[in-house]
């Protein structure tokens, strides 16, 4: 009876131990590469959202509460060839239809959006995924704090929602608005939120 319990337990334990060891080893090999990939994507995206910048400063990370949800964010300062600050590039998170959307937003000294890019997005192909098309992303250029979504005829500080994907459009807009809010309150206002 005792044997019937001990042998399966030990063999299962050994299998688990071995599996975990193997995973640890593979993780050791791939971890660095995964981290590197993330850095490369981020650096390439920075150049797209802030085309005028020649170099970027150190990354600052934190958490920020916007519209009832708390999410982590990060930002870097964008510098021109003389090392003068020309704006900031933010990475903010929001929840779309298919999960987390990580948006990168470039904001210049006047608090205007210079461009957006997605670091992580997994929306419905054919609907929400259309957010990655240039026609949608271009709309955000020049917008200021408090962007809203309009389904039919956008005017002023509004963007046109994607057909059949208002949730995605709103989520992206929320990400960009969060970045604008952080710029206003944390960087310009000097307040230290979270």
């Amino acid at each position: 009876m005792k044997k019937a319990i001990i042998i399966p337990t030990i063999s299962l334990f050994l299998i688990c131990l071995f599996a975990t060891l193997l995973l640890g080893v593979v993780n050791g090999v791939t971890e660095e590469k995964i981290a590197q990939n993330a850095i490369i994507t981020e650096e390439n995206s920075r150049k797209i959202v802030m085309a005028d910048a020649k170099s970027f400063g150190e990354k600052t990370e934190g958490e920020y509460t916007f519209d009832g949800t708390t999410a982590p964010y990060s930002y870097v300062e964008a510098l021109d060839e003389n090392g003068n600050s020309i704006g900031y590039v933010f990475v903010t998170a929001s929840t779309g239809y298919g999960g987390k959307i990580s948006t990168m937003t470039g904001i210049d000294k006047d608090g205007k959006v210079t461009g957006i890019e997605f670091l992580e997005i997994g929306e419905t192909v054919g609907l929400g995924m259309n957010a990655t098309k240039p026609t949608f992303k271009e709309q955000f250029k020049g917008m200021v704090s408090g962007i809203s979504v309009n389904k039919n005829a956008p005017s002023g500080n509004e963007i046109k929602a994607l057909t059949g994907a208002t949730i995605t459009s709103k989520a992206v807009t929320k990400g960009v608005n969060t970045a604008l809010d952080i710029y206003e309150n944390v960087i310009k206002g000097g307040a230290n939120n979270g």
Binding site: A19, T20, E63, G68, T70, P72, A93, K100, T166, K170
Partner: protein
């Protein structure tokens, strides 16, 4: 948006617009396999709701533990084992102490371990609500799994009705059997597509 309103919107979203079966394709096996009779469909989905809730309640704190130790990469293996062990434990306990419930739900429990809807809801919860381990996010995760489970039940029950109609229908020979079942599923899914704009306008 207030917290309670947000929870309500998550709840409705997961039942109607992001239905696990009809729009996320999670749990197709039981959907096609045990939706033939209404009572089995209800029993299976009740068991799924139950397992989804307890798995989320258990794996959510475990993920925070894994994050604290920098072992996030073990999440898949840890979650599937925890779910499997948990289901087994619940089955044994239920058999011994609540035999009436066991007869209604317990028989479906072993089938649920390898149901992708359960592992799916757990992983999605970590992905969307896993920002930090505070209680508010835990609440979102729980409401999300309750909604996902109820959505699963809704799809199963509706489809059981559709299939009972199919039995008496005169179906072209080449579509008989599985093909017509899938096409019926396609139409059911199409009808759920109509809910797409509902939630955002309800809670706007």
């Amino acid at each position: 948006m207030s917290y309670s309103k947000e929870l309500l919107s998550i709840f409705v979203t997961y039942i109607l617009t992001q239905n696990f079966i009809l729009s996320k394709f999670l749990g197709i096996c039981p959907f096609l396999g045990v939706s033939k009779k209404l009572n089995t469909a209800v029993g299976m989905s009740a068991a799924v709701i139950f397992v989804m809730m307890i798995s989320t309640a258990v794996t959510y704190p475990i993920f925070n533990l894994l994050t604290a130790m920098g072992l996030e990469y073990l999440e898949t293996i840890v979650f599937i084992l925890v779910i499997a062990a948990l289901v087994q434990l619940v089955e044994i306990a239920m058999k011994k102490y609540i035999p009436s419930l066991y007869n209604a739900l317990g028989i479906y429990l072993p089938l649920i371990t390898t149901n992708c809807a359960v592992l799916g809801v757990v992983l999605l919860n970590i992905d969307t609500n896993g920002y930090s381990g505070d209680l508010a996010n835990f609440g979102r995760a729980m409401v999300c799994s309750l909604g996902a489970g109820l959505g699963f039940m809704l799809a199963m029950v509706m489809f059981a009705g559709v299939r009972s109609r199919l039995e008496g229908a005169d179906i072209p020979k080449f579509l008989k059997g599985l093909p017509i079942t899938l096409i019926a599923a396609s139409l059911t899914s199409l009808s759920f597509l109509g809910f797409a704009g509902l939630v955002e306008n309800m809670f706007a």
